[in-house]
Amino acid sequence: MRLLAAYQGRIYGFVFTLVHNRSETEELLQQISIVLWHKFDTFRPEGDFVRWACGVAYFEILHHLRSKNREVRAISESLLQKLRDHRLEHGDLLEQRRDALGFCLERLGAQDRTLVEQYYFCGNVTASDVSQKIGRSVEAIYKSLQRVRLALHQCIEDRLAREDQS
């Protein structure tokens, strides 16, 4: 399962975009890994591993969302499909963005970097955990997070645009 290890990040991203909850995503990823392991002989070596894995993952996600029975908010299946298709179609672009992310992270201010670190790098922390750690209000954390996210997003856009020109 060297392939799985190599592409786990992409599959995580795929699951996360549809489930948008970190701990659920991690749990699902474990299940999916097991399913992938069992089904691996149906994968053709010359095929696109990520596409195949995401196909398997998609059914696990559907199953998961249905069993959670969150009918009030569950993204309708047609939307899920749309997101899935969009994602699979533009997988390479997202991969480029991930590369640019490293560049942009380096350019983040120290405080913002701390925030990213506290929120994203320490497991499934919530904004209130971070808030307690660094002594700022939860609302401030959310605001800052959003600002950092948008800043990173913008930086990635700029970076990709520049790469296209050169």
């Binding site: 990040g9 995580y12 991203g13 996360f16 975009t17 948008h20 970190r22 029975n69 969150r70 009030v72 908010r73 993204i75 309708s76 047609s78 939307l79 749309k82 997101l83 969009h86 994602r87 533009h90 997202l94 991930r98 992310l101 942009c104 992270l105 350019r107 983040l108 201010g109 120290a110 405080q111 913002d112 970097r113 670190e117 994203y120 790098f121 919530t126 904004a127 209130s128 808030s131 307690q132 660094i134 002594g135 209000s137 939860v138 609302e139 401030a140 959310y142 605001k143 800052s144 997070l145 959003q146 600002r147 996210r149 948008l150 800043a151 990173l152 997003h153 913008q154 930086c155 990635i156």
Partner: protein, 768 residues
Amino acid sequence: VNASHPFFLELTTLIASRLEGRESPESAARLDELLIEHHEARELYLELADLDASLAWEVRPRYADLFELTQQTSTSAAPLVDPAISSSLHVPVLSIASRTMTVLFKPVTWSILAVGLAFFIYIAVISSGIRRDKFHNESNGIDSFVATISNSTGVKWSDKTAVRIANLSVKVGEPLKIDSGTIELELEGGAKLVVEGPAECTIDAENRATLHSGKLVAKVPKQAVGFTLDTPMATIVDLGTEFDVKVAASQQTDVRVLKGRVDLLSPTAGKNQLLTTLEAGETARLALSSDSGEPVLEKNRIAINNNLNVKTEKPSDLTLRLNSLVLWLDAGSIDLDDPAQVRKSGNKAYVMEWRDRSQRLSKPLNLTQVSNDRQPLLVRRAIKGQSAVQFSRDRLTCLTCADGTLMRAESPRTVFVIGRAQGQPDTLIGGSLLAFQRVASSDQRLFDANHISLFANSDSSLKSMVHPFLGVFRAEGHDLLPQIQVNGSPWIALDAPILRANIVSLVGGEAGEGYTSNPSGYEYAYRLSVNGRDTNPYTLQGVTFLPETANKDDFQLSGAGRFAFGQPNWGDGAADADLESMLSSFAFVESEKATLTLKHLTAGVRYQVDLLICSTPNYRTAVFTFNGLQPNSFTQLPGTAYCLREIVTASSSGEIVVGLSGKGNPVLASAFVVSPAPKEVAPQAVVPDARRAETVVGACGLDTVDRSQSWDGDIAELLVYDEVLSSEAIQSISNYLAHKYELVAMPGTGSRGLTPPAGLKAKQNSDP
């Protein structure tokens, strides 16, 4: 997706709340709709979601070295990871921390400082100029956003390229020039600036700004104390305040303190020389002398008038003097120099007599204590610059008035208390204003037959109190306390008969998931670990009520049923005990809907319905109907703790249904229907016999039995009215207290936030 896309702002907000797991059903539906319809929306969503995913999953290992590197190369400004390491690393920073920081440290005792070292140093680093210079110059990338433009009216920008309007973020040093209109800036540090054009300013750090010219008002909450504003002629260091500043073209600088205090420093005269400290109501003008060309300081006291959208009118204490005022204790009125009132010992002042200011009864209810050992301490500047009387649990301090006739028999009361629990360090909950009440065995009320007793100690008792009244109790600028607030002021009114339903549901929750009654997740953060890490789907719902307050035939609970399994474990620690005990009487059921129905309404009677919801993000719907119709102002519940109140006048007989529906993540809710006694039962909060009533504040008599229950902390002011006040009266008294003690009103509570329990006849009061 272009930032100028019409949906950009809305979309990014919606996406953020989804990724943060705190979207409401409406915003979820709206986002789904946008995502389905717009290709670009999907694109942006995928990009942002993938950004989150990469940060959470991939970046950690991939860029770990990058982050370690930063920490090594820039020790003085490195993010803190391990407090133990970082505190040793950062100690030198203390010595070079700016004056701003010295101010910040001042009120902190050393023991607290030792514990909180890492935390404070962290603040010191980011707030002092060190970080700004070092990082601002080094990086040309995307760092250094330090403020957000939260509001703007009629703004004309001098320089079109100046601000990235798209996400309204302001960078360090970015020139903000406006020709006209106002902008409202929220600094990362928490300070809020309202800049009125024409003006030019820059934000220099998360807690520092420069006003080159023009006018601004600074509102500085507790956490941003030390906020520094530079002007060409002065540096203003805030000490917890609200002030406005005007810089004229001649550089003449006018500073006016509306609340709190500021230090005025001169940047030109040597190194930050302290020119003066301004108190509320004082102004200072710095102008260049026409003779010497040197700056000259002129200081004045002024009547603050309402200008620049700052609310400063001070309500008169006449508003408090209603006919029904029977007791008014104001620590500020205690005369330090009167040996009949105060006993001085060393530099301490002990209260021998606390005089009643009400002047309403033939005999004032002056409270006294003759025993030296049990006299409470008078503390000046205890709460927002106001004096308070400090009661000590250990010393069993109390003040009494043995033969006062406080209340008419059979009369309900409305009570206002401003106080603060002991043991909350100033740095943490400096302004936490708590009103407490006795928690009697049968129900919760401030009074028993003959006493006023101020009870309760810590947050845990606060919890049990907040529920029945949906009272207030929030510290300024602080979210450690439940954010349940009624126009920023404590309000306790005595209970009318209350039908209460506590609805608890744990539906499909995950092990380890927390219950949060406030967004900080601190106060009520109960961990739910059922069978350890067992994540089997389970369903628990429970409903309970206080049956003793009403006739059982008149209401009905649905959703009651069987226990799904044993008593849930609400986490560890003693603080959990009372929620646990509260839950112990619950019957858990499998149900999607839990409601309390109040039947047999009496036509023409006002009913107040409160629904308090404490929850992790959930997707439930608050149910409230009156004869099957939903009142318009009873809003649906958003993802986190929320408090809903509706008052209806029954136009006809019928029924009220209140509760929750829909499955979702865990939710803890309490629903109350405060109603008149359905069968004309007299209100419960009555004094059966007031002939020999005794008034006690502190821990006297019975209170000595259980010290843990007795009041330990400051009381600044206590007002007792011998009736249920009208909502207008409560409002104006609240306004007075809120102004005096700088309580922060939560936006949106509006005038309907404060309402006496319905059903007790509210009388309109007029000033004498």
